[in-house]
């Protein structure tokens, strides 16, 4: 979901790398490049080229926004979970997403952009979040499928980022990946329970959820490599490690095998094993739909952003009251 950040980067002029100006800057650039080539980690206060900083702020903040907006489709089902056990699991998962958002915002802030600026970019629609969260969660089976496919795709994207050249981001990713595994497993287990012990209606519900989430999950890896112009630079910087298409193929190969265990089928008539490639061939992805959702016209874009902005605005008095209380308290202590 994070590779989308680079592929959906605005085409503004300030996105373009600027020509190196002074000799001093050229020397810094050279030493930075050498560190990257040596596989060294870059830390928060180290000198970095402006384009590296911008690309990272955009990628990390989009990732953070995705975690935060990603709480909304699942939050929808907390009060409707079928059992207390499932409710406790879902609550823990949604709380994790909030935590992941916070780790990532903190990493983005080390690059010199404030939390309020990051929020403002999300709330004004300037910053993007993963296209996947603009789809509705219609049934309980969607909770299982999100864990299995959506979190599964996220993990596949995130594991290589644990070796990202920007250390604060890499450290956040290590923590996130450790926690994300629970998300995927609980999803698969919830689906398996319905498929092995559920009624016919419940099994049909699982298949329906798979049918609706399969293609949007494949889109999470971003556009095909041929249309991913920023990838090369990001690979060079070690911000991105594996290409969109390679990750997508890896995801298809893993999940199609898992679908057999569940007893569901993927909604793709062209899906078949290719003996020669030792991989699954799959049908064409509807990129028109992808760009439409990224562009703000998915099934739930307005609802998601509206809910997020409302939560922020409704909470303003609480944030201000907490600060006022802290000021009053510190004055009393000083007296």
């Amino acid at each position: 979901m994070y590779t989308q950040a680079m592929d959906t980067m605005g085409k503004d002029r300030d996105d373009m790398p600027k020509a190196v100006r002074s000799a001093d800057e050229a020397a810094r650039q050279e030493s930075f490049d050498a560190r990257i080539d040596a596989g060294e980690f870059i830390e928060a206060k180290d000198w970095v080229p402006e384009h590296y900083r911008k690309t990272l702020v955009r990628q990390i903040s989009q990732h953070a926004h995705s975690e935060i907006v990603g709480m909304l489709p699942e939050g929808n089902w907390i009060s409707r979970a079928p059992t207390l056990k499932r409710k406790a699991i879902l609550l823990a998962k949604v709380q994790d997403e909030a935590g992941h958002g916070l780790y990532l915002y903190a990493a983005a802030e080390t690059l010199g952009t404030s939390r309020d600026q990051l929020y403002e970019a999300l709330h004004s629609g300037k910053a993007k979040y993963s296209s996947i969260f603009n789809y509705p969660t219609l049934t309980w089976a969607d909770m299982g499928v999100i864990g299995w496919l959506v979190d599964g795709a996220a993990i596949m994207n995130q594991v290589p980022l644990c070796r990202c050249s920007y250390a604060p981001y890499a450290r956040a990713m290590v923590r996130i990946c450790r926690e994300e595994s629970f998300h995927q497993r609980q999803g698969f287990e919830a689906l398996l329970t319905m498929m092995t012990r559920g009624s016919e209606a419940q099994k049909a519900m699982v298949q329906d959820a798979v049918d609706r989430w399969w293609w949007p999950s494949l889109m999470m890896f971003g556009p095909p490599d041929s249309e991913s112009p920023n990838s090369e630079q990001s690979m060079r910087w070690g911000i991105k490690r594996i290409s969109n298409d390679d990750l997508r193929q890896k995801f298809v190969d893993a999940t199609v095998e898992q679908s057999k265990l569940l007893g569901v089928t993927m909604p793709d008539p062209d899906l078949r094993w290719n003996e020669e490639r030792q991989s699954y061939d799959f049908g064409a992805i509807d990129w028109k739909e992808f760009w439409q959702v990224v562009g703000g016209d998915g099934p739930c874009n307005r609802e998601r952003l509206g809910a997020r902005v409302k939560a922020w605005e409704d909470g303003a008095w609480v944030r201000d009251a907490a600060m006022a209380h802290a000021h009053k308290h510190s004055l009393k202590e000083a007296a």
Binding site: D116, A172, V309, H325
Partner: protein
């Protein structure tokens, strides 16, 4: 759909967690909180949801004094040629190797 900006951003705190008795506190991340009490509470919720800690420290980020990464070479490299500070510098008779 422009959100109203909050008047003042909550200050930033650095979080240190002791994973178990006998080990030292280790930096694990940062968070925003209005006051120390809230910072400790949030640190627990954000960084120890799976029993990662038995003790938490928080400190205002603006209170930390750090060395300048630009001075790294001037600061730390002089230690590189002081190999006599390491026990391996000294060659002793075989019978004393484990001194």
């Amino acid at each position: 759909m422009n959100a109203v900006p909050s008047k003042e951003e909550w200050p930033l705190w650095e979080v240190f967690v002791r994973s178990k008795a006998g080990l030292d506190h280790k930096h694990c991340g940062s968070l925003h909180a209005a006051d120390p009490q809230m910072a400790i509470q949030l640190a627990r919720d954000v960084y120890t949801r799976r029993q990662e800690g038995t003790s938490v420290w928080v400190v205002r980020s603006d209170q930390i004094v750090a060395s300048d990464p630009g001075d790294k070479a001037a600061y730390f490299d002089p230690m590189a040629d002081k190999i006599y500070r390491h026990p391996t510098f000294y060659e002793l008779p075989k019978s004393l190797d484990h001194m």
